[in-house]
Amino acid sequence: MKRLLSRLDRAGRLLENAALAVLLATLLVLAVGQIVLREVFSTGFIWADELIRLLVLWLAMVGSVAACRDNRHIRIDALSHVLPARAVVLVRVVVDLFAAAVCAVIAWHACRYLVLEIEFGDAVLVDTPAWLAHVIVPLAFLLLAYRFLVLTGIHVLAARELHADAPGSDAPP
């Protein structure tokens, strides 16, 4: 079970890294390419600027999913230095369950929005269906909700180990 989980974690990490690298490389090539086209050939693609901005949206979404795996989301971390270890675990479980719930709600409403976009046939980049460009938003928030649940699980597991190391066991600190 533990091995399966760590494999899953490694696969997810690789997938995030690959997605981030591809998105960033595309952004880089596109942005520099636009400059070259403009300065050397006095031309350019009209859709390039819009695509660059959409790529930033995708980078932001995938980046925030990756940030969750690394537990690097920005928090006001004022109390974990003063609370006792047990209380810290409880607090972390509560706040991360809260975050998971918020992400799930946003994912749901983003799905509803996407359905609306499909119905209306909205388009971006001249004639690409808009939902294709925006599908990353519900997807990312769904993954965020899942990741925060996993994070909660990790806190609980850590608490168990803390408990095992508590008085009685003679394991070195």
């Binding site: 890294n17 690959a18 981030l20 690298a21 960033l24 952004l27 880089l28 942005a31 520099v32 636009q34 400059i35 300065e39 819009e50 660059i52 901005r53 959409l54 790529l55 930033v56 949206l57 980078l59 932001a60 979404m61 995938v62 980046g63 925030s64 999913v65 990756a66 940030a67 690394d70 690097r72 989301h73 920005i74 928090r75 006001i76 971390d77 004022a78 109390l79 974990s80 230095h81 607090v91 972390r92 509560v94 706040v95 991360d96 809260f98 975050a99 918020v102 992400c103 709600v105 946003i106 409403h109 983003a110 509803r112 929005y113 996407l114 609306l116 460009a133 925006h134 938003v137 519900p138």
Partner: protein
């Protein structure tokens, strides 16, 4: 409504992710006046409507690449060759190198890790007092915040819809004031200590210059490209990122190809964290503007505060408190849209406001309880946090004086700004 706000405040203090707090407050607002929560998705997608935002991921990855290469070591060598001959020179080398590096890495604590590892032992070796070294490096770690192309400057420009080019120019003099004042303090503190001075040597300067030959054009590319009107900010960022990638990976070969995925990841994790907060803040800001909150705030404030001076003083106190609990990026996206109209009501120039905002938030890196630099320094140099606090206090006070100067002397910020 009040109950929800209090609950959210409690969750925030207990360490819930900030984006979740902001998103919830926006959604509570929306459902309060029967706005469909689909709006949340619309606002988040609105991230793709913001111009120049591409500069943030591109400059960030360039900064991370630089800090993973040997560029920090070369930068220290060059600064040392230029300034090391002065009495107390190494302290000034430290301040100058940190400021330059932070401008490029976006003030995310990377400076202390990348440069501190070189400078801290060097300062110790030269016999500087250990407490002084600790305070110096901790406070120097966020010093370059006002210099182009730092991330907070760009983010302020995007959020406040102020010309980023103007902000880059406006930051120069106030940033220099901070560096000069800290340098003066460092010289004064070490005035009694006679250290073996390194002599100025053209040969060493030449060698250091040759070594940095590949990185030296960077500031020229960025600033020259932007001010000549040749490149937009996001384009300058793209050129910088591509240039750094080619130089460090293929020319100097200091970063192996296999390292790239993890470097890209750690830089995009930072970007993802910032932009997610920006995205949900777009929603909460739009809700608040729709509900007339800035106007109410202005009416409230103008009932108590008469002139610009009083307003600026009040703003300073508010920002100091804000900086103590919020990081600079969240503070920009959350608070700037609300204080911008108020500041306009008191005739504060939006560019000046930006410089004051960032300069004050820079102190937040050094103030307890959540000053990022304090924790990084404590962790990196294996020192008790209380010791880092007390070692930083004199530097914090100097910076506070410089912030007062920057706030009440708008010319400092606006002198170089055209128009």
């Amino acid at each position: 409504m009040i109950v929800v706000s209090l609950l959210l405040l409690l969750l925030a203090v207990f360490g819930a992710p900030l984006f979740a707090i902001i998103a919830t407050s926006a959604m509570t607002g929306f459902s309060g006046d029967d706005t469909d929560l689909m709006n949340m998705a619309l606002e988040i997608i609105g991230l793709a409507d913001m111009p120049f935002l591409a500069a943030i991921p591109l400059f960030t990855v360039a900064g991370y690449l630089l800090s993973e290469s040997n560029a920090p070591r070369r930068l220290v060598r060059l600064t040392n060759a230029l300034l090391g001959w002065m009495p107390g020179g190494l302290a000034i080398v430290c301040l100058a190198a940190c400021a330059f590096f932070t401008a490029f890495t976006g003030a995310s604590g990377v400076t202390i890790i990348a440069l501190g590892a070189i400078l801290y032992p060097a300062l110790q070796h030269d016999g500087y007092d250990d407490r002084f070294n600790l305070g110096l490096i901790t406070s120097a770690g966020s010093l370059g915040l006002l210099f182009a192309p730092s991330l907070p400057l760009i983010l302020y420009g995007v959020v406040a819809e102020v010309s980023i080019d103007d902000l880059f120019l406006a930051g120069i003099l106030p940033g220099l004031v901070m560096v000069v004042m800290l340098s003066g303090y460092s010289l004064w503190v070490n005035r009694g200590n006679r250290r073996p001075l390194s002599t100025f040597s053209w040969a060493e300067l030449g060698a250091a210059l040759r070594e940095t030959a590949w990185e030296l054009p960077l500031p020229v590319v960025v600033l020259g490209g932007i001010y000549s009107g040749f490149l937009a900010v996001s384009e300058a960022a793209a050129v910088t990122a591509l240039y750094v990638l080619i130089v460090e990976v293929f020319v100097l070969r200091e970063i192996r190809l296999a390292q790239l995925p993890e470097i890209v990841r750690s830089s995009m994790v930072l970007v993802g964290g910032i932009l997610l907060i920006l995205a949900v803040s777009l929603a909460s800001t739009n809700y608040m503007i729709g509900a007339g909150v800035p106007q109410q705030l202005f009416d409230f404030v103008s009932g108590y505060v008469a002139g610009q001076t009083t307003f600026l003083l009040l703003l300073l106190v508010f920002l100091l408190a804000l900086g103590a609990i919020l990081d600079i990026f969240s503070a920009i996206v959350l608070v700037v849209p609300l204080i911008l109209p108020i500041a306009a009501g008191y005739d504060v120039h939006p560019v000046h406001l930006g410089i004051v905002f960032l300069a004050t938030m820079q102190l937040g890196y050094l103030t307890p309880p959540v000053g990022l630099n304090l924790f990084i320094a404590s962790y990196r140099f294996d020192q008790p946090i209380m010791r880092v606090y007390s070692a930083t206090v004199p530097f914090l006070l100097i910076l506070l004086v410089s912030v007062l100067l920057i706030t009440f002397w708008p010319t400092l910020s606006l002198l170089l700004v055209p128009g």
